[in-house]
Each structure stands twice: as structure tokens, then as C-alpha cells.
Subunit: 202 residues, 2 copies
DNA sequence: AGAATTTCTTGACTTTAGTCAACGTTTTAA
DNA sequence: TTAAAACGTTGACTAAAGTCAAGAAATTCT
């Protein structure tokens, strides 16, 4: 279970750093802003949000790692995103429109998260233009990146995509099971095993 | 060549309809808003924006159809998006940060577009909160959709993806060359030809 | 520590899709 | 209106990746 509410004794440094990376904003603004977030802990393998439910909050990862995945009609799981420390994750569109999400969000390790409710998200949006701005910029970049990844899914082999990911997120490979990486890359665990064998035995 | 500037005799109906679909906003607001956009025509196959250049504007399609594609290191083209009538398209992230885009935007047919410059985009963003809101919502949904498409790229066969697209955008198949569809689906033109043969000859 | 579970590896075989080349058809442009 | 270019189809072959099954290795739980 998630720890109850308002355990406010978390260290906000990481969070503030990430905000400041994106926008230039005063300490007072940040203090007011951070009050809209709530600290929550989750155990390994615990579900943070589930497909078929209306998301109650959106997430910033202080510690740990979680996966976002979708289950196809045929029952196959497909991981679409890993959120490590310093990453935002969630289904804002579903949360804001009060509709069910298609995605599961699960802790891969014990996690410490900051969460923001739909109400507080709306407040932040109304009161802090710099936040809206940073958000929009983030999404604009992210959408382009996703398109690029799709193109790479089309033009590169599994091996090439594996090497790219290894270069881009080396730490990820130390902390998540290999078959999760396979799911994210869109290849079978067996194929990933063979790719690794080929790469490292030559 | 694109026609010069400020040919303002376009019919804004389509554009206004799309805005109203997203937000509830007064006629006065819309009138002021639409002044920030410029009408442009492009001939078939003409490049609207090119990879390696800083995008000068972002786009709404009044008439025609265009493709957004990326060229891989190995020189392979990969179409990531088709924009038909009523669609927004562009590389806002690159435009706003004054950096070069990785994407080409090319007219597939003769096109009539509304374009907005970086300056006017910033104005719209500052002056029309409803626009920012609609924009953000749009991106939030779009990012989720792209993730879903990536998952489908992983779990479905080429044939299944073809049938899905045929159902989702039937008109697209009447107007764009088949090998563009293949590029978008991430399969070779030959494979698409065989998929079609199999589907329609049984 | 030891049993149970999960994860990873390997082999044999199948499926899906890509490549190359040839040729017919359609579209475009001089 | 005809030549050229672009597009689509087909065949033969190849490559990439999936599936199924068995077993080894690692991790988790009690």
C-alpha cells in the first residue's frame, strides 16, 4: 500500500532542480508550487495506477523506477515508458478529462514519488504560467521524440535499437529485468538474449 | 513557390470549426486570434519546411494533404505523419527554440494552409489562455496516442496495422501513393502490395 | 538454508517481412 | 501525344524475428 498522506519530510532538491532546468522561477513561486504535490511511497511491483481506472494523480519520480505499459486485445503487454528518477510520468489527458486510462503504471523497484491531483494540477495551471509553459515545451519535444522513435522502430533492426538504448540509458539495464527491456524494444525475450550473446561473445 | 503574403480571402470556416470543437470561445476572441495566421498555398510535391532548417511557421491544413518525414542516417525515408484537412502540423519545439528541425514537411497535393510564425505563436500563447489550454490538451492526447501506436507497432503484424489504418483513415488511401502508406506503416512497398493482394483476392 | 518462483538461455523450427530484379501500368511533363 | 519518370506487382530468395519447449541460473520468500 502507499503510505497515507502528507508525509512532507521528503527532500525536494531533485524536484526543484528539474523545474529550474526548464524555467527560471523565484523561490517563492517554487515554494507555493511544491505545496500542490504530495509525497507517496510504493513497494516493488505495486501498482500505482491501473488501466481501466480514472487516474487520481500524475507523477514525478524522486527515487526508484516504474514502468508504463499497455495490454493489447490479445493480452500482450507492451512497455511504452520507463520513468527513473527525475522523470515525470502519468496519463494527464485521462486524469484531466476524468476518463479511464489505457495504461498501467507499476513500480519496478521501491519508489518515492511526488504526485499531483487533478484539482491541484488545474490550480498549478491557472496560477503558474511558467509551469504551463514548461509543460507545453516538454510535450512538444516529447511528441517529436516519440515520432523519431517510431521511425527508428521502422528503419533499425532489434540489435541496433538495443545498442541505441544501451547508449542512451545505460543505468536502466542495471535495474530492470531483461524481458522488460525486450518488451520496450518490441522484441521477444529470446531474441534479446540472442542479440546480447552475439554482441558480447565476439 | 508559396504565394506571397497576406492573401486573406480564405474561408476560415474549417479552422474555426476545429477550434470550437476543442474550446468554447467568443467570436471576438476568434477574430483576434485568426489575425495571427497567414494564408499560404503550396504546389504538389513542394517542400513546406525542410530538415536542417529552423521552421519559420507552424501549420493548420485548410485543403490538401502533406507528409512529415525523417531521413535516417542510412538515407531511408520514414513518414511519421500525414496531415489532411483540419489537422495541425509542424515542429513547434524547433520553431520556438529557434533550432533546426529533423523533419521534412512536403505537400502531397496542392495545399492551402494557415501558418503561424514563432512571434505570433508567442502572442497567441500570451493573449489567449483558451488556446494554450486547447494546445496542451491536444499534445497530452497525442503523446498517449503515439505511445499506443508504438505498442501496436510491436504487437501487430503489418497486415493488422494496414487494416487498422484503413479503418481509421479510409480517405487517405484514395489520395496518397501506396508506397507512402507503406513507409508510414513501416513495411516495404512490396510487402504492402502482397498484403493487399491477399486481402482483396480472398 | 532451501523451496518456489521468476528470469534467462539455448535449440529447432516457423512466420513475417525485406531485398533484388524484372516487368506492366499509370502519371507527368516536354 | 509521346517519351520519361514514377508507381505498383510479382517471383525467387534471404534475413530477421517469433514460437515452443526444455533446462539452467538467479532471485525471492519463508
Amino acid at each position: 500500500m502507499a503510505t497515507p498522506k502528507n508525509i512532507q519530510d521528503f527532500d525536494p532538491t531533485l524536484f526543484l532542480e528539474e523545474i529550474k532546468k526548464r524555467v527560471d522561477v523565484s523561490r517563492e513561486q517554487l515554494d507555493a508550487f511544491i505545496k500542490l504535490w504530495e509525497f507517496k511511497k510504493f513497494k516493488k511491483n505495486e501498482f500505482i495506477l491501473r488501466a481501466g481506472e480514472v487516474p487520481k494523480f500524475s507523477i514525478f519520480v524522486l527515487k526508484g523506477c516504474l514502468r508504463q505499459y499497455i495490454v493489447s486485445e490479445s493480452g500482450e503487454e507492451s512497455i511504452v515508458y520507463f520513468a527513473e528518477e527525475r522523470h515525470f510520468i502519468g496519463d494527464l489527458a485521462a486524469m484531466r478529462t476524468n476518463t479511464v486510462s489505457n495504461y498501467h503504471f507499476q513500480a519496478i523497484e521501491e519508489c518515492e514519488l511526488l504526485t499531483i491531483s487533478a484539482e491541484n494540477w488545474a490550480k498549478a495551471f491557472a496560477e503558474f504560467p511558467w509551469w504551463t509553459d514548461a509543460h507545453l515545451t516538454g510535450y512538444q519535444k516529447w511528441a517529436l521524440l516519440l515520432q523519431q522513435q517510431m521511425a527508428e522502430r521502422h528503419t533499425l533492426t532489434g540489435e541496433e535499437r538495443y545498442l541505441n538504448l544501451l547508449k542512451a540509458k545505460p543505468k536502466l539495464f542495471q535495474r530492470v529485468p531483461q524481458h522488460y527491456i525486450a518488451s520496450y524494444l518490441g522484441i521477444s525475450p529470446e531474441t534479446l538474449s540472442r542479440i546480447r550473446k552475439k554482441i558480447f561473445n565476439t
